[in-house]
Symmetry: C3
Amino acid sequence: MPENRPFVSLTTDFGAAYSGICVGVVYSIAPGANVLVLSDEVTPYAIKEGALLLRQALPYLPVGVHVGIVDPGVGTARQPVAVRTGRGDVLIGPDNGLLVPAAESLGGVAAAHRLENPAYRLPGVSTSFHGRDVFAPAAGHLAAGAGLAELGAATDLLPLELPAAVIRNGVLTVTVLYADQFGSLILSAGRPDIEAALGPIAHGTRLQISWTGVSVKVPFEETFGRVATGDPLVWLDSSGQVGLAVNQGSAARRFGLSAGDTLTLTIA
Amino acid sequence: MPENRPFVSLTTDFGAAYSGICVGVVYSIAPGANVLVLSDEVTPYAIKEGALLLRQALPYLPVGVHVGIVDPGVGTARQPVAVRTGRGDVLIGPDNGLLVPAAESLGGVAAAHRLENPAYRLPGVSTSFHGRDVFAPAAGHLAAGAGLAELGAATDLLPLELPAAVIRNGVLTVTVLYADQFGSLILSAGRPDIEAALGPIAHGTRLQISWTGVSVKVPFEETFGRVATGDPLVWLDSSGQVGLAVNQGSAARRFGLSAGDTLTLTIA
Amino acid sequence: MPENRPFVSLTTDFGAAYSGICVGVVYSIAPGANVLVLSDEVTPYAIKEGALLLRQALPYLPVGVHVGIVDPGVGTARQPVAVRTGRGDVLIGPDNGLLVPAAESLGGVAAAHRLENPAYRLPGVSTSFHGRDVFAPAAGHLAAGAGLAELGAATDLLPLELPAAVIRNGVLTVTVLYADQFGSLILSAGRPDIEAALGPIAHGTRLQISWTGVSVKVPFEETFGRVATGDPLVWLDSSGQVGLAVNQGSAARRFGLSAGDTLTLTIA
């Protein structure tokens, strides 16, 4: 199956319509491209959620041009950038940290350039829709063969501070990173963190999870089906993060938790 | 217009992001494929809703590889399967009944095989994201030319029990199958059921519809425009099912009904 | 990058599933087409919102066949139509005004024909899903090479009345056209209207905005970042309309306003 369509993906907090306009701009410039809207459903303005999605998703996509836009600073001095990764992708988006974890998951930052060249923007850039006027045109031109360095001057990327796990003897403190489509809560810890804090942990072990005034006992299980329908569990999600879920239900709704909330885990 | 891109569709309860990752996996394996996300909006865990959507939709799609994922049993003993239909499609998904009505609407099951071959899975299958690790890779490899029997052993499919109409003399008892995007309630009956219970029925006939403590009179009409804006009607939907709707409104919201509720219909 | 795939876009109030069925019908007829779902998230039955989206978006898409479906009159006497634009596109949808502003933004109406030819419909047209049975097949056949005049008789289009700005000396009265994905309220006025009513207006000028029993002071700014997070602003959106927004928040939620509400603006 010979295939040489350049691959472009788009991840935004725009919803369908504004994302669709961006895709239209890419096709207008690079009609032979294969464009995938990876997601148009990132929570509005949630840079960390977008960054974590890109980090988790892009390694599963073909090498290509990947646009990420969660951009509360649109129209301010923040820079639009393009980032070459070790794997050979180009990531495009605002220099607000959104692209950094994804770049690390794709072999690291090989080069970063500002999107300055007016030839690779639409004429008449608006103050509030750089997706259409700056990011999508850059993606289209790269897909159509433009070189990264033609876009603008080399630059350094601003970092992104993601919530980390706090490991103390017998206590793991974590932050809710985001709730997924099913209401499962993805936490700022992996198995190494949980074991560093709580010791080796077998499936079936009951954990005590506490937050402001609430404390629940939840088993650590390999898979949802190990608990009854409607029961909670702690498990390792498909990206290796510790998660708190409810089998066939929503942990976010059950426990009233969302991104940024802090939990402590101990052995029950 | 010569065209030989293999066609792949995807229907999930994942929302955009996780569905997008699955599409990325398909393109990574079969870059020449034409991939359509038929829906990423199936109600989470609602196997019957997903099954009815696939049955209704797939006959209108090109012959191809169609992935359906509504999979509350992911990570348990339920089998992932691929199903050859009489029309020539391959349906891919969990063996929980999801694919059965669609296979029947596409000429029946010609063959079914388990997805066992590790060469057609991603390395390191997770316990909670078989869409990415098992189903999408199988779809990609089939689109890229793999044979159905290479995937694993032949198997039989588990059935799906869909709610049926109960026909008594002068009384039709039905279940709400699902509410569509407009809030129209699709019921477990077709015109033959309604006529078997209530006799030949002309447009304009008023029906009495009753459920727990509530009873409303609603006309049977050919089309929404036959009733005033905001008024309810019973009609035959585009897949031939009896439906309860509100012209330019939401019957689900108006009547507080949802999937699984039971209604009785009589002549008013 | 040679490319001769005919481009088709689809904009509906259908949600994902019914839109996906329409895309499937297009691909079944025109397998070589490149089909983009511009949006499946138009507010149900909101003709004006759909019309404004099409007017704003289509100039950024490649020349092609663009299907728009917001069709509360489906199944009544309203006509399905195809409209050739000055730019060379064909717009397809119901003759309820939905397509008119977009046609004007694409060089005007060059020709309009009814979709009457049964050869370009699916056999057995339903009363409630003309997207699948009438509009998508017409788009597919046009993409596959059919001529506009083959579809049916030439016709005139019904107009669409959009809310306008009312300009009095020192007072601008506007209607909320729609709320975008972020909850920003797009108003029925452009910069010329605001200046005709209020005189030349500099960034930083404070406006008094009033509606039923409420009055707030909001600055007119070039960009969101000019006000603190959570503060409101009036700005010119990316399509040149006056908008009322909250930096990193939702003006629709903050002020309880939605499409159709009327506001007055004066200098504070």
